[in-house]
């Protein structure tokens, strides 16, 4: 029981530590708002001209735009934490609603990508390290280096050309075939079918990263003293690799995966734009053209919150893997 409460205290403490970060992001949002061209109210209304004068008055009052800047900041922060992100006239919905609507699709894409890139990356990296200096290792390393150099959006487009347009194996855009009105199991399969190209595209870059990292990590662990000890006890090379080295080697990969969550979110903007995947990223893309700064800032704030939460989860997973982490 003590074990659980220690971990619980750790979680609580990390949540507390997250608050100043969120506060900081809110402040950055506010500053960006000030930087944007035009009156703050215009920006908050989404698109100048399409809001009614009464609404603009209400906005000015709600956000205290007639008050001093520091007071505006406080009000803005209060609003953010109450999740009042404003209203979008173009979509005719609360900004929060718009974003939450799209969140699911992005989460699906990101989670799939995370598992794909980390999972396959670990396996490939391990395999490459086990066959170091053989052709399998060289092949994997070369493929990894090339994947690492490819721009995401280009890979998506090329995959689309080959697998969608020419081979017609996968659908080119969207998350599901809306006209078909699938339900239940069929719907799941349909979504999965649509998910394949976007997630492979997004995974490729990170797959390369984790493969190389895992390979280097495994090789580094093989040079460690405890491996010599294990050999001295009579352990076979396979036992050493799978029971000793593997768990130690995974740790830096998990740490790196944690760092990459923010980048992953950014990547999903591009991938969703290419594949028309109806998530936050595509929303951001569309918003760019509309120059709806307020919606953009809303997306920014929420994605930052998302990153903080995922970071915490990754940290938590890490504490289960490495007993050296001080929970105190």
């Amino acid at each position: 029981m003590l074990f659980l409460t220690k971990r619980l205290r750790y979680i609580l403490r990390r949540l507390f530590q997250a608050i100043p970060v969120l506060l900081g992001i809110a402040i950055v949002n506010f500053l960006l708002l000030q930087l944007a061209p035009g009156d703050a109210a215009d920006v908050l209304a989404g698109e100048s001209g399409s809001a009614t004068p009464e609404y603009m008055e209400m906005l000015r009052k709600n956000f205290g735009l007639d008050k001093s800047i520091p007071e505006q900041l406080l009000i803005y922060i209060k609003n953010l934490f109450l999740f009042d992100l404003g209203f979008s006239f173009r979509h005719n919905m609360e900004v929060l609603e718009i974003i939450l609507d799209r969140l699911g699709a992005t989460l699906l894409l990101m989670t799939t990508t995370l598992f794909l890139s980390v999972g396959v990356g670990i396996l490939l990296g391990l395999f490459a390290a086990m066959r170091v200096n053989h052709w399998q290792d060289s092949l994997i390393s070369i493929l990894a280096i090339i994947s690492y150099a490819t721009p995401l959006f280009w890979v998506g487009l090329m995959l689309m050309v080959i697998f969608s347009i020419n081979l017609d194996w996968f659908p080119a855009t969207g998350m599901e075939d809306i006209i078909k009105f699938y339900t239940g199991w069929e719907r799941l399969l349909d979504i999965a079918h649509h998910l394949i190209l976007p997630s492979i595209t997004l995974s490729l870059f990170y797959l390369a990263l984790y493969t190389r990292l895992m390979r280097a990590s495994v090789l580094e662990q093989h040079g460690m003293d405890y491996v010599v000890t294990a050999r001295a006890k009579g352990a076979s090379e396979n036992r050493i690799t799978f029971k000793h080295v593997l768990k130690n080697a995974i740790l830096p990969v998990i740490t790196m995966a944690g760092f990459q969550v923010g980048a992953l979110l950014g990547g999903s903007v591009v991938v969703e734009a290419v594949f028309g995947w109806p998530g936050l990223g595509q929303l951001a893309f569309q918003t760019l053209f509309a120059r709806d700064i307020n919606l953009l800032l809303g997306i920014f704030f929420l994605s930052a919150c998302l990153v903080v939460v995922v970071n915490l989860l990754v940290d938590l997973v890490y504490t289960f893997l490495d007993p050296r982490i001080e929970l105190d």
Partner: protein
């Protein structure tokens, strides 16, 4: 009383990869391991003793290969075994323990799990039987609370306890041969004494043949039944322990033994002179902060109200084990760390309270020589630039500073051409000499030497200590000599100050402290010195 030989090494040669300064790590070595005895293989760094040990177990690093000879064990030739065949022998018939127990244990497996692995690999005991065996073994290595140790991770127990766990892991299947590769080198002297006793007791109990590798002749004197001396891959001399320790035949062995600082040379205490430095109730506190959801803060007194006086031309040895605070005291005096209480009085001025600017003139008076010959020199500066740095900072003209650098480098035994060379061109002992030259460049009245010879081989150590002695005679400075090695302290220091957990527990003239220690800790410290009863046959010559 002839005992059986367990293992025979015949004409063994191990090659090194190209590009090194030698072609072979081990060259035509012949050695026998006999049952129920401890064979100490002693040599300096690069002697090949570790590689010889590893080759027995087939654990040589990938780039080193056995190029000749045989290793016979139980009518098999070990150097011809396949990895699979080796796996059956390792841990069961021959076991090995290593120098650094923290890195030699898997940080992610509990102690119990790692010991259990040996049983899983070589026996068919069931879970309960395995647990029983492990608990028994942990008790025989005198680990307190074996139930708790089984579940603990390596980082949760102390260094000494880790080494005991490693010994348990190695001896649990009662192998015929135990290879111990510098198992106590990384341990404190008191812990070392306990582990040496443990190894000797277990060896006698199970009649194991032990190969004990070390560079420390004191350790050799403490536990060896037979001794083999190695130099640059070759066996130089081999005989019964008593013979080698009391009448070594080979010149190299003689040189090695001559270099071991003797315990029984009390320096004559000179009459009292002017006080140079007075350390008064010096304190350094470290706070361990714990978060607001955790427990309260805890204080650690790294230095706990220390006081002593250093007089002209005197050498005081500050001795203690790791964590005693001796290094912290040194760093407080030169203001590398700021102290939290007390005074450091030099010529009546309190250095402790000075800011950086006011400290500048006093920097010339107190200088430091450091421990790590590789970390204490900037790899990108020439030796001359490094030695001349000090005077230049304090206003000396470049040409004069470099001239002084040349003179100092000659004084420490390196020619004046050294000024244009880079540190990587010099050996460890030579680098320490450069460090000494750098410290002397400002003509200090006090030299603080923080473990200046601890990282050096024993023969080089003797040379550097001799050099320090000569220079001190010539330039007349005082020294605060910090070390964990009591033999070195005995040779170099007029007075000894013993530190334990931040406190100064005893201080007095060297001879008196060694012959008639007052404090409990001093007594246990002196008792722990390995080979303290051995009389160095060359002691008169130091």
């Amino acid at each position: 009383m002839s005992k059986n030989s367990l293992l025979e090494i015949q004409n063994l040669s191990i090659s090194l990869p190209d590009g090194g300064d030698r072609s072979h790590a081990v060259d035509n070595l012949n050695l026998k391991i006999i049952e129920n005895e401890i064979l100490c293989v002693v040599g300096e760094s690069g002697s090949g003793k570790s590689m010889m040990a590893r080759s027995i177990m087939g654990l040589l690093p990938r780039r080193l290969k056995i190029t000749g000879g045989e290793i016979k064990f139980e009518d098999r030739l070990l150097n011809h075994l396949t990895p699979k065949q080796f796996q059956k022998i390792r841990g069961l018939s021959i076991a090995m323990i290593f120098q650094e127990p923290m890195s030699a244990l898997n940080p992610l497996h509990s102690i119990g799990k790692q010991i259990e692995e040996v049983l899983l690999l070589h026996t068919s005991l069931n879970k309960t039987e395995r647990r029983q065996r492990i608990l028994e073994m942990l008790s025989s290595v005198h680990l307190p609370d074996p139930q708790h140790v089984i579940q603990s991770y390596p980082h949760e127990i102390s260094g000494g306890q880790r080494q005991r766990a490693m010994i348990a892991m190695a001896l649990i299947l009662e192998p015929k041969i135990l290879i111990a590769d510098e198992p106590t080198t990384a341990l404190d002297v008191t812990t070392q004494a306990q582990i040496l006793n443990l190894i000797r007791d277990l060896q006698r109990e199970k009649q194991t043949g032990v190969i004990f590798i070390t560079h420390d002749f004191g350790v050799v004197a403490e536990i060896a039944d037979r001794i083999a001396v190695m130099k640059e891959g070759q066996l130089v001399e081999e005989n019964e322990a008593q013979v080698i320790l009391n009448s070594p035949q080979h010149i190299y062995t003689q040189e090695l033994i001559r270099s071991v600082p003797d315990l029984k040379t009390p320096k004559p205490v000179e009459s009292s002179k002017r006080v140079l430095l007075k350390v008064d109730h010096l304190e350094k506190i470290y706070q361990r902060r714990r978060g607001f959801l955790g427990s309260s803060k805890s204080k650690v007194f790294a230095v706990n109200k220390i006081q002593f006086t250093l007089r002209e031309r005197e050498t005081i040895g500050l001795v203690g084990e790791s964590g005693s605070g001796k290094s912290t005291v040194a760093r407080c005096i030169v203001k590398l760390i700021s102290s939290d209480g007390g005074a450091i009085l030099y010529q009546q001025k309190d250095l402790a309270k000075m800011d950086r600017k006011s400290m500048m003139p006093y920097r010339k008076e107190i200088q430091m020589v450091f421990q790590d010959p590789y970390g204490s020199l900037n790899p990108r500066l020439t030796v001359g630039q490094m030695v001349a740095q000090g005077p230049i900072i304090h206003g000396e003209k470049q040409t004069k500073a470099f001239q002084k650098a040349k003179e100092l480098l000659e004084l420490v035994g390196l020619g004046p051409q050294a000024v244009n060379r880079y540190p990587h061109e010099f050996s460890g002992g030579q680098r320490q000499r450069i460090g000494i030259a750098r410290a002397l460049a400002l003509d200090p009245k006090i030299l603080i030497a923080d473990e200046p010879v601890s990282a050096l081989d024993v023969s080089i150590q003797a040379q550097v200590l001799k050099l320090l002695g000569q220079i001190k005679q010539k330039l007349n400075f005082s020294m605060l000599f910090i070390t964990h090695d009591l033999r070195v302290a005995a040779q170099v220091c007029d007075k000894i100050a013993v530190m334990y957990q931040g406190k100064l527990v005893e201080i007095g003239p060297t001879g008196k402290v060694f012959e008639d220690p007052q404090h409990e800790y001093t007594k246990s410290l002196l008792d722990s010195i390995p080979g303290r009863n051995w009389i160095n046959p060359f002691s008169k010559n130091i």
